[in-house]
Amino acid sequence: MSSPSSPTDEESVQDTRPPEGKDRAQYGVCAFLALLGTAVIVDGLGIPHITSGTDPVGPRAVPLILGVLLVVIAALYAVDVARGGRGEPEAGEDVDLTQGSDWRTVLLLIGAFVVNAVLIERLGWVISGSLLFWGTAFALGNRHYVRNLLIAVTLSLTTFYAFAIGLGVNLPAGVLQGIL
């Protein structure tokens, strides 16, 4: 899924696209990796060191190694960024990278997503799934409210009957239990 035309090595990045300056947001990724590594180490230290004849290594070794590697890679990445390294954002048919990120849409999508996660067991998939589809279509800029509601309800009813009842997939009926 990764973009195949991205730069090949740290050095060639400088060769091909020097004029754009550094992508400083990458330092945020370094910080995240360092924090994650520290968290993994701390969690690893909290695991009791249990070894036995059949398991001389115990459960602690791998988390500790991994945590250290995360911290090391965070440092290496920071060096790469400082030297002007950058990853190429993924392109795609519907992706327009000339504009900045549209955070409003992303936040609305996350909102619709969370609503579904919170309501799915209480109200059931048919209702929460309809809300999810309607909400995400709205977030993405579609303003046919009634038509979208019809599509959303049809989609969640169809998936419920086809998958939950037809194929035995786990989907909750929620408040509509006994009605569907």
Binding site: M1, S2, S3, P4, S6, P7, E10, V13, D23, V29, L36, V40, D43, I47, P48, I50, D55, G58, P59, V62, P63, L66, L69, L70, I73, L76, Y77, D80, R86, G87, E90, G92, E93, D94, V95, D96, S101, D102, T105, V106, I110, A112, F113, A117, I120, W125, G129, F133, T136, A137, A139, L140, G141, N142, I151, L155, F163, L167, V169, N170
Partner: protein, 499 residues
């Protein structure tokens, strides 16, 4: 001969009317979802995996085989008609394919892709039948140190050989290994990185990871940069080829197959290298060099065949060793695991009927795909016009449904969202996705094999080296790691001196 009997039994199972129907459904929805822009084969398989959860394993895998090839073919349709490869493996197909479509030869491009995929898929699956038993015989003799070495090789391969930047590949791999660490340690029963949340004790399901990173991450990423003007789609009639097109296509199909299968079957293979090799070969051998760059049919026929043959090839290490080498195989491996089946050399003994049904379904699915896609191509092309808000709303809808269905717990939806945001960030910073998925799947198993190796040596690190395979693999790893240094200090100075 025993395998032939098994395969025949597999065919007998698949052609039962109900199973044939499932194969047909798999091919249709696989293609339909794969055609949708922005959805590559791996995402197709990940999104559709949960719908098979209520089925018996045999039925599920029959459907799955259809989804697998359907998703592959759907992806090449998108790249030809939109010039937008869903996955790096169809990048090369898009080069000439889209040029052909723009020159009014979309029908021929789709036809040579469909028939070439069929030819390559059939030959590839045949080779799979022939080669896998040997790999299994060989794999049975491997010990824990050999497996550990092979898994390390997979890690190195996905991060540095195929990836664009080693550091970024490694970051992705380490993130995957960290996700794979979450849960109860299989050996000692200790909780690791579970944050005290009981639902995390079983670990984060690979399907949730794949759907989160592929589907939710992609939807969020596109949503943040949605092109308001829809991309231009080339109208297409029913695919057909004239005698001249056949004459120009059949050799590239066979050559592409010859490139694709071996690369796919290597534990460090993939589809990028063989599709590219096929393209350059056809460009060199063609009698119509003037057409290359303007839509030469050889440039579609060869790479598309290489792509499909490589997909069949990846099933060899996936089934025989339990090693996934591309994203689609990684998700397939997750599908096996969700049924409590562990691919590897013992699979052919323990689940023989299942494996042969799967292989037979690959043949059947491939044939169904050809029969279906030649007449239905114009209908698939219409799917490209789906309004983008509905497309991405639909992706999030099915992603949520699938992730919930895995364990029926709402917490998975929050995990899915977090992983989706991670997928978003990875797309923003150009971190490749495949190493993460491979890390999640192979990480826990590599740890297990490593600990098993050290158990034999009583904790001494020398236990990690043992068996001929581990020596060969470690040599390969060292060479792969040293290659950039060699290039920098040996190859480049030499070239500069000669220049």
């Amino acid at each position: 001969m025993d395998n032939l009997n098994n395969l025949m039994q597999g065919f007998a199972d698949v052609v039962a009317p109900m199973n044939l129907l499932l194969a047909l459904i798999g091919v249709v929805i696989g293609t339909a979802v794969g055609v949708l822009p922005g959805i590559g084969p791996a995402m197709t398989v990940a999104l559709l995996l949960p719908i098979t959860y209520g089925m018996e394993p045999v039925q599920a895998f029959i459907m799955f085989a259809g989804i697998f090839y359907g998703g592959m073919y759907g992806g090449s349709t998108t790249s030809i008609l939109l010039n937008t490869p869903g996955e790096s493996s169809s990048v090369v197909t898009a080069i000439e394919g889209n040029k052909m479509a723009k020159a009014g030869r979309a029908a021929q491009a789709l036809a040579t892709a469909a028939i070439g995929s069929f030819v390559a898929g059939t030959i590839g699956t045949l080779l799979l039948v022939l080669v896998t038993p040997f790999v299994v015989d060989f794999a049975v003799s491997l010990g824990a140190p050999d497996y550990f070495a092979l898994m390390l090789l997979s890690f190195i391969a996905v991060t540095s050989v195929l990836g664009s930047s080693r550091i970024r590949g490694l970051i992705s791999l380490l993130l995957g290994l960290t996700i794979g660490l979450v849960g109860i340690d299989a050996v000692s029963g200790q909780q690791r990185l579970t944050l005290g949340i009981p639902q995390l004790a079983d670990g984060i399901d690979v399907v949730v990871v794949a759907v989160g990173i592929f589907a939710v991450g992609e939807a969020l990423w596109v949503a943040a940069h949605l092109r308001r003007r829809p991309a231009e789609i080339i109208p297409v009639g029913r695919p057909w080829m004239g005698a001249k097109d056949w004459k120009r296509s059949w050799k590239p199909w066979l050559r592409g197959t010859a490139y694709g299968f071996p690369f796919g079957a290597l534990p460090a293979g993939g589809a990028e290298i063989p599709t590219f090799l096929s393209y350059t070969t056809e460009k060199r051998l063609t009698k119509h060099p003037e057409e290359f760059g303007k839509g030469a049919i050889e440039g579609v026929a060869g790479p598309e065949a290489a792509n499909n043959a490589s997909a069949a090839g990846t099933l060899v290490p996936m089934l025989a060793l339990g090693l996934p080498t591309n994203a689609t195989a990684a998700v397939m491996l997750a599908a096996f695991q969700s049924y409590g089946i562990q691919p590897g050399p013992l699979l052919f003994d323990r689940e023989a009927s299942l494996v042969w049904v799967l292989i037979a379904s690959l043949f059947v699915g491939n044939l169904l795909l050809l029969l279906l896609n030649l007449p239905l191509a114009p209908a698939w092309a219409k799917l490209l016009r789906i309004p983008r808000p509905y497309l991405y709303a639909g992706i999030l809808f099915f992603a949520s449904m699938g992730a919930y269905a895995v364990n029926a717990q709402p917490l998975d939806l929050f995990v899915l969202l977090v992983l989706g945001l991670l997928g978003f960030a990875m797309r923003r910073f150009g971190l490749p996705v495949l190493p993460l998925i491979v890390g999640v799947i192979l990480g826990p198993r590599a740890e297990l094999q490593g600990r098993r190796s050290l158990q034999l040596s009583g904790g001494d690190l020398s236990g990690l080296v043992g068996g001929p395979v581990s020596y060969a693999v470690y040599t390969t790893i060292v060479l792969a790691l040293l290659w950039p240094l060699v290039r920098r200090f040996v190859v480049r100075p030499l070239r500069e001196r000669s220049a």
